[in-house]
Symmetry: C2
Subunit: 556 residues, 2 copies
């Protein structure tokens, strides 16, 4: 009754203070002028307290509702920045790897600390490739050199091996005022870019790399977004289309949403171990040409979240396709050392491109990305990375340099770390033996855990997992009973989100639902890192197994 007497207004488009532009629809129906939903306030977080609510509020559909007093006077002041008046592109951004399920996991951790009883003692965050958080130890050599760079007084300390000191001195000499607290050149410290170029040359069997084509970055994500930023142009049917794999790493879809680019999905072939079919690329680009201007093809190799490692032949085919269709290639190669499966080998796009001869190597535009966060280093917190650009128009390169200069420089400790990654201890140097031992142990353990993950998951009826050939994740397919799918839909959540949320609440295991990465309609997956220690991973996989059986039974 009381509710009925309340008069609501829907204010759209601008701050209510800008009277000239405020459009006010008085309505008793509470029908949203944007999405047409009737009574959207019932779905708003304020619905239960709508009678006492007196300011501005927003509904899920994104409109602003403002309560008027009975005499129709509108309160004088509202917020400048609301869901309704904010950047619409930002609203479209989604990033499942740190989405609602992770927020709930953080909440549960707090509840556990406060003594709330749960059927488990700890939350295990297997949602993100965060090696150190999962107990992986940093490489001693890296941290010693970084400590020396941070506090150069330690250069007099005899406990540090001589080669760590030489490295630190070399890095410091390249810094303004010999301090990693100085800004570097925006493209990155020159001698580090030279080291990166030499690393690429060694990796690619001597194919030359030009330090001028290397840009250090704040993690690989920063590099990827920067290149996309250059590429996005046009309006309507001429708007830039960017081809990304499905499943994908959601940085891509998030960046495209923010930049307002057109996302073009190409599906990886789950039946063939998540391989890439050129016919699917062709289908996708041709369909996209109807409504946008496809200009970019993104590849993640080794794959995230899908763990496949591309064959040399496949990479060649992709390059030929990109050349034929006039696409700029972006190769996300941050897992280049994470290759486990027998018969698999990492081939960089750069190397294959140059081996294909000048017809390709002098024309196809390519940007390749690497990072300090993955492989055997796992140094995510330092936000180190680099990109190499090949065949980029020199004028565009000047624009790129200008663009990165606005943010001054990538974090210098991350740059220093990137230097150590591309230029590790050499045979004969004091730190060599320990470095090799540590690196080998980490990569061997990852290979074992990749195998174990596949094996245990494939013993579960209703779960089928492709071999984890590389990277750091399994992405198994899960069968969900129809009744569970219906219940999830009734709740308005994706069925695999429903599954993962239940898993989290019952076992404390935090995974990311496949819907956060994209998947073929009607299929369901989750992504799970292989990073926990072998013992812990085994327990975790068996808990997933038990949960899946329980879940299946419950909803059958």
């Amino acid at each position: 009754m009381l509710l009925r007497r309340i008069i609501w207004v829907v204010a759209r488009g601008r701050s209510p203070l800008c009277d000239s532009a405020t459009v006010i629809y008085p309505t008793r129906q509470l029908k949203c002028a944007g999405c047409g939903m009737v009574n959207p306030s019932l779905q708003s977080p304020h619905s239960s307290s709508s009678r006492t609510f007196s300011g501005l509020s927003t509904t899920r559909c994104g409109l602003i509702y403002r309560k008027m007093s009975e005499n129709g006077a509108v309160p004088r002041r509202g917020k400048v920045l609301t869901l309704d008046t904010m950047n619409a592109s930002v609203k479209k951004v989604e990033y499942a790897v740190r989405g609602p399920i992770v927020q709930r996991a953080v909440q549960i951790e707090k509840e556990l600390k406060e003594g709330v009883k749960k059927p488990f003692d700890e939350v295990i965050k297997a949602n993100i490739g965060d090696a150190h958080a999962m107990g992986q130890r940093p490489i001693t050599f890296f941290r010693q050199v970084l400590a020396l760079c941070t506090y150069p007084e330690l250069l007099d300390d005899n406990t540090f091996p001589e080669d760590t000191k030489n490295r630190a001195r070399r890095i410091l000499q390249a810094c303004g005022g010999n301090s990693i607290g100085a800004y570097s050149a925006s493209q990155g410290i020159e001698c580090i870019r030279q080291d990166v170029a030499r690393y690429i040359e060694r990796r690619d069997g001597g194919i030359p790399s030009d330090p001028d084509n290397i840009y250090l970055s704040t993690g690989a994500s920063d590099g990827i977004v920067t290149i996309l930023k250059l590429l996005v142009a046009g309006e309507g049917r001429t708007r830039t289309g960017v081809m990304i794999s499905i499943p994908q790493y959601p940085l891509y879809s998030a960046a495209l949403a923010e930049l307002g680019a057109v996302q073009i999905n190409y599906y990886l072939n789950e039946e063939k171990c998540w391989s890439l079919d050129i016919s699917e690329l062709k289908r996708a680009v041709e369909a996209a040409r109807q409504h946008c201007n496809p200009r970019v093809l993104c590849i993640i190799n080794p794959g995230n979240p899908t763990g496949q490692v591309q064959s040399r032949q496949c990479i060649e085919d992709v390059i030929r396709f990109a050349a034929k269709e006039g696409l700029f290639l972006m190769a996300d190669e941050v897992y280049q050392d994470n290759v486990y499966a027998e018969g698999c080998q990492f081939h960089s796009f750069k190397k294959v491109l140059f081996e294909m001869g000048p017809e390709y190597s002098s024309t196809v535009e390519l940007a390749s990305f690497h990072s300090t966060s993955k492989c055997y280093m796992g140094e995510c917190g330092f936000r180190g990375g680099y990109m190499e650009v090949i065949n980029m128009d020199p004028d565009v390169k000047a624009q790129l340099t200008k663009l990165v200069s606005v943010r001054l420089c990538p974090p210098v400790p991350g740059q220093a770390l990137m230097d150590l990654v591309v230029n590790p201890p050499q045979p004969g140097e004091p730190s060599y033996a320990t470095f090799i031992k540590e690196r080998t142990a980490t990569l061997r353990a990852l290979a074992e855990k990749a195998k174990m993950t596949e094996e245990i998951l494939n013993t579960v009826p209703g779960i089928s997992c492709n071999p984890v050939q590389g990277a750091m994740y399994s992405f198994p397919r899960i069968s969900l009973p129809e009744r569970a799918v219906q219940e999830a839909k009734a709740k308005g959540v994706a069925p695999d989100m429903f599954y993962c949320m239940k898993l989290l609440e019952e076992t404390g295991i935090c995974l990311v639902p496949g819907s956060g990465f994209g998947q073929k309609d009607g299929t369901f997956h989750f992504r799970m890192t292989i990073l926990p220690s072998a013992d812990k991973l085994k327990v975790l996989l068996n808990k997933v197994k038990e949960f899946h059986q329980r879940f299946t039974q419950q909803y059958s």
Copy 2:
């Protein structure tokens, strides 16, 4: 003659490979279809070699010119990404602090190394607030704790004071796996956000600060761009307008260009020591309302590049203005410890806002920014920073948290450093005395150099310099002879750029011309940091003095 026989085409809008959309205007006139300039190629870097040029090229006006063979055949393959087909917003970005003059400075440094004779021995980069590069020493306590966090084995080293170890342990305990190599929460490590909130409370005389309103960032720049990103919306006349001071720090204009927001200039009053007049704000916002939707007011206090420190009264007036006009306030307060002039004091916008009572403190939306890069720390390379958001709509805050999560997290070493800045050694702790000594010495030296800069520059006829009340720069006005202005214009460069370039070539001193920051038409300035050591700064100022006299004579 030969030139006449060449047929040029102007290709616009898309890659030449997309035949369907390529628009080709054959023309003998070389009139640019974009800017209407006739014979733009004459101003292009390729003009002198146009007869031998055979690929794609670009003119200053941003169009692509492609030479056709005499029979009119267009070469088959062009670049996907060219000046013509790239993101037009990125092209509009300018960032003078690292612009052409700095690029030339780097070149000259290389030439000096190669033994090229110059009238000077070294390039002095007084263009950027890069304290360590200018010889300022890092704070020992900060670097000790960071070294301990980086290489925790040092916790067993007896040469580190106990309080540095306690701090390192506390930070490490807040990191995943006790490693600064783990990702943190996207908003920043929780206990660091708590420390920031407590710092703000102490600074602002007890006005409460909520850690949930604190977001750690990759330097202040990152925070500023992120908030602007949320605020930019609308099209045409409803497009978000953002008010920035002129002169301004060019991060603002660069970010607005990239985001496609409308830049609304308000001019600081040079005659009144670069103070801010509310009547000028009013003029600017009213004029802007004709063509856009002014929603944001950016303030830099203490000022960059202008060095003024705002009075409490002025801040109150600005807040009242923002409230009345419905503007979101962005307060760039990265120089909050850099206040030198007698009678001047730093007042945070947050504090003044809350002292104005609930009418303002519960309504005006404010984001305030701080950083590890300036003040007495000068740790630019670590890219540490934070922002505090006040009265932000909770739904928008959720969007902000989502947006920052896409980039995973700010660099953790920078977060740790921010923690130490907001929570320095306390009386009674072993590191306290040294910390205070170092901080005081740095700030005292800066105050002396601020004074010296003003005094020496004001002895030069034709240079007039306002007091450097705060921040790290002088921004003196320079009189340029009419003949110099004409010569610069004939060369197509801004007169103060012409002046600064000549100064660089003749003395090795690298300054940024006022045109890079914006200035009233017909006035000319440069920005110069006060960061070099007192001895060096004196030499530098006297060199500028001599140069200015020589320059004036030469062109009079």
